[in-house]
Subunit: 190 residues, 6 copies
């Protein structure tokens, strides 16, 4: 995207100066970490109360988890791929490349996680994530067994489900608002 | 459900006594308000950090919104209906009956929101909610126009989308964990 | 529904007085049995010849069958749930509660039969009913085997299929005509 | 099919001699009319009570209707085509060729009713039939208006729906039992 | 179709006299072989460069293959059936009847290949063809194993895939252009 | 992919030295043009007769067309996106970036063509391409009108359809064989 394009097109992006102090603080931290301000922070600031809850949830997902960070991001991209979410494919695609230390994995997961060069263990992790996304009503005990059989703990299975569920929220908000991924994400980690 | 049935069947329900104080406090409040402890609070307590974020998000949805509470619950039940979520159909079905002051509306929304006796304005609200749930990738500008034309503000449209997105998370967690609605919910408001 | 609401909204409901004697007789019997006139009888009276055939078929399904009445009603509600049929969900939901002697079973079956607290035998019965409803072209010999393995007779399997097939007719007529369930059905057996 | 092949493969075909007199009488009439015994009569005789109700319903559909017989059969084949029903495609395909006086219409309707060389009026009739078959929950007032606009009476619309609904029953029974169309049907009217 | 109906309705059919010599030569050969000019040749002549490539591909499929010609045509009709392609159902239906020496096989494959009277070997061949057509992203190693287990060579599996893939092209062009099958195809081989 | 990974994983990749001279010549040309050998050429060489026809068709699509090259590649990527084809997403994604002179367009089209920053004219072009891919049986006259209204010629519409149809073939062959995109494609034009 061009530097002057908005963070989302369907709602007005609030001015940084007008935001509550805690939102500005979080945005500053993210900007310092990434070297630019990921647009999801500017977009979600449209609704400060939801901003706080949304990122608190995201923090809980990556800070208190039995999954590796690489696993979290693999789930995010596989889910965003089947949900056709442009923002999440691109922004979390960059994170998959970085945390997975693999320049091609994101493109594989966006297209079809079944074509990805991943372990059987990770394949089963993504089987649950995609099934819970596409046909949740069919998830049953045997889906849990397939994960236990490759060593995922009970808590890890909850976490696989939680990341999947949260990005079924995120994908819908990103698409609703037409959030646009920062240009930087397209090339990070390639 | 029988009084001694667990709040969910696929993960162990934590003991109230072992929970962090802030979770116990929230559970106490909910129990006092409802006259019983809605099982979603016991189930989500499996993961305290997610418990906090989940209910903070829910609070943000119902406390800082341009929608009527009745509208929020109508969206929840229409979304849960198409997602085939037993817990949310029943628990929020009770809330629709109460906030909508209509003993039959929940059964209509669970079955097929198109058969519900609702206003054109609410019909369009649910059209967006169900489309964002079932085929999010097709949501476009014209879906926004249909809502503006019946008087929904920009913020209200964000809120319709947010409630929809959040229950696409909730439905998946409730189904994953096989949360069981309290017996009370089946009859409240009928 | 309010007492003065019509039995269906898309076709005129005939006057009882104008109906042929045999239809009046059947309606009288049903009214006496239930304590009110289930709206499907008033609605189907729009077409007397079809009324006769429709209820003759229904009688054959419940009078000459290898299934328990509870099983018949479980199939009806599971099928009506996936077909999103408001009238049948509610009217036969009441019958499931009564014949199954379970106040929560109907809500489980309407939402997702996979979440219902039922035996493995009944689970397989509903697997066939839902598959024959949603993707009939894939029903094959192995679906029969799964039922024989839990003790269903050949005739019982025909009957599972017949109840399913008949409610694929009923659901469509109820939705086409927008039949409205009597208010009594919402609370019977809860 | 070879002359000695059974009328259906998944249930035993009863012996004509063992059937109740009224079934034998109906089968005799059909055999005389067609010059052979259509297999649906032999198959349905497996369950005499359902045989009576099934054919009483069918008789009501074609004897007390505001539709032309050609229209009834067009609906049957379009519905059976989308339901992938081999028996009904072939048996009623023959009837479409005969009543429609068109040797190619059945193959068009089986493949895709949108490619059939039919009037706008009939196109709309089949639009409702296919929509009520594939996504009944979306049928609404505007679908009725499209039919009224091309002159269909209220009763004719009920009848379009009834034929559609009945063949959603028939297709499922024919597929369940694996009914096999008589060889004669493949070539009649070509 | 009537003798004066066009080969397709959505694009103008070129005059034979105006065609390049090599197209006229191919058309002459096909006309001599069949006794009439199959409409796909007249329709594809709209774009001579594509005509050459299309029929070169088709020739490669039937001349350099590990499949029997009957197998090729079975795949074509099963694929065209699920793709709802009128032209291919009818034109290749005739070829299935002739090469398979079976007057009913085409109607079975058009309706639902699972109802066809074919060997287990051919059933698995069509399982891959239909899966690659309807949900290609799910084709995996185990689909290959099922074919190897019944004796298909590696090259034969490629060929099953190639015929399937090519008719996913052909079906789309035939439907786009609304190609109309010659009247002769409807009755050949019955 | 690592330099020593094969061009496809489900069939053996032939040795260049063993290929017929005309295939080697074509491969040499492509290698010189791109600076590396795109894997589709090595993979398709498994079947030389199909190699010739496949690339002859592709050449016809890009050499004798009323579409801009950028438009051809946009169609390819939008179609490959909905078909979940990893090879085509990545290889033609590179071509979209180059011919469209836009480093982000490919990621937009892979995710959801409705989110792409393209003209109304191109939007309608892709509407047809995606509809012909996902639900070809519903393509009708009005889809043509929408394209004529923005200035596409009759021949251009045929060409939009042809590119779409051809990549419904290509996507299936690439997925069947599990063709792997060359590493170079992931970064070209970014």
């Amino acid at each position: 995207m061009a530097p002057d394009e908005p963070a989302m097109t369907r709602f007005p992006v609030p001015d940084y100066e007008d935001l509550p102090a805690d939102l500005r603080e979080r945005i500053d931290e993210e900007t310092e970490r990434a070297g630019f301000t990921p647009n999801v922070f500017l977009a979600y600031a449209y609704h400060p109360a939801q901003f706080r809850a949304f990122f608190a949830y995201y923090d809980a997902l990556i800070e208190d988890t039995d999954l590796e960070r690489e696993e979290v991001e693999m789930i995010v991209v596989a889910v965003s791929g089947v949900n056709h979410c442009y923002y999440c494919n691109v922004a979390h695609g960059a994170l998959v490349r970085i945390y997975g230390d693999d320049p091609e994995l994101a493109d594989q997961l966006v297209a079809n996680y079944r074509t990805a060069e991943i372990s059987e263990r990770h394949r089963r992790m993504l089987d649950l994530a995609v099934k819970l996304t596409e046909s949740m009503e069919e998830v049953e005990e045997r889906d849990f067994e397939r994960l236990r059989d490759v060593g995922y703990s009970e808590k890890a299975i909850w976490d696989i489900g939680s990341v999947t569920a949260f990005f079924n929220l995120s994908n819908r908000m990103a698409h609703l608002a037409d959030m646009r991924p920062n240009g930087e994400f397209h090339t990070m980690g390639r």
